[in-house]
Symmetry: C2
Subunit: 220 residues, 2 copies
Amino acid sequence: MTPDLQLDTRSKLLKAAVTVFGKNGFEASSVRQIADLAGVNHGSIKYHYSSKGDLWRASVSYLFSQMEQAVHTNEAAWSKMTSRERLKDSIRSFVRYHAAHPELNRILTIEAIAGGERHQWVTDNYTRPFADRAVAGIALAQEDGIYPKELPAMNLHYMHVASGRIIFLMAQEIQSIFGVDVFAAEEVERHIDTILTLFMGASDLKPGSAKERSGERLEN
Amino acid sequence: MTPDLQLDTRSKLLKAAVTVFGKNGFEASSVRQIADLAGVNHGSIKYHYSSKGDLWRASVSYLFSQMEQAVHTNEAAWSKMTSRERLKDSIRSFVRYHAAHPELNRILTIEAIAGGERHQWVTDNYTRPFADRAVAGIALAQEDGIYPKELPAMNLHYMHVASGRIIFLMAQEIQSIFGVDVFAAEEVERHIDTILTLFMGASDLKPGSAKERSGERLEN
DNA sequence: TGAAAAATCATCCGTTTGGATCGAAAATGA
DNA sequence: TCATTTTCGATCCAAACGGATGATTTTTCA
């Protein structure tokens, strides 16, 4: 086995932690569950990460950075775009990321409800900077007449975020009620089109590649 | 103490269960926590409700019925409204309910993420009928030209729901980042106006009473 | 009033939790 | 090669969990 394919214990633990925390959240996940999925003894978590909380923070750091990177994929081309196209592009990337990686969405939502020090940590280190930049972008869009200036940018921001994430958060419910697999590529694009049409009018939908789905390597 | 103010054990348990489950969800809530809040011995839960799961179902039944009732408050006047006004009215009631009673929102979100048999139960008994009616209403609105007919009603429905609930779900985060109390009456109305303006154009905002906040008696 | 029924309580049980401990094993480098 | 460091795993622990039990108290009603 090449060392690239044979993940070391630390990486295996992080990968398993992302999966388990992303499915059940912090409280409902046990270190034994994570260790079992990683195929190592649960005592090893104490060694590589000093506690369950540390492993959780490492997981969130990994996921949030990955998400921000995905949203800024086309950043180089932004200078050549109108602010409308720029906003549309970031929404597209945002939705596609959450379709490909539902874990962060679930973790952040669970923690936002629970509150407490874990939520404070992720807010201070990740959510606040992200939200500040997003709200600034919306304010700019309002200057350019994309949204009415009298609407509060904060509320618009949360409507963006909520609309982009909701179907992936409710994936099981939607499957059960409507028989729709929201993670299917065509459903993801359909949802993007719906958001862009309703929020920003003009359905000049630019196809864009939806092949984000594959290639989910973990660090290195 | 009048018997109206002196709740019996069963009612005290339900009231406490709504609070605790509404804050932490099913798994993170303990029967001891609920019994302590109700001021009774935790063994009483087994007596009045056969299990923790039964108490949870009773809590969800109570809250969901309360929510549907709130949304249909003005139903009598709907026949005299245009379909646009009707949709706006139900959105207004929907948002105001979740501002006054954040518990159901939290419980449904947590369970939607977790999946499992509790989620299946609430989907079959409450979410599906609610969603079916809402989607039908949106399809009707599309017939009347309020929304483009080519947009999928399901996605529009979830955007409605998500946009209406998001700020209350993220209340702690918004307080921390923006210093805004989303439960304040003026913030609730501001959010409603933002949704109605962005989704349905025309900001002919009808004030309406926002005094829903008080009077949260638990069954009698 | 008093016996039967309903309601409440203190207490116990088996299980699972996160974390600590410590010896064994593997890797490292002079 | 061999001693030192790094890594790993079996095991123990106190705490909290949902639920069961049986005694005790309160209520009901003839």
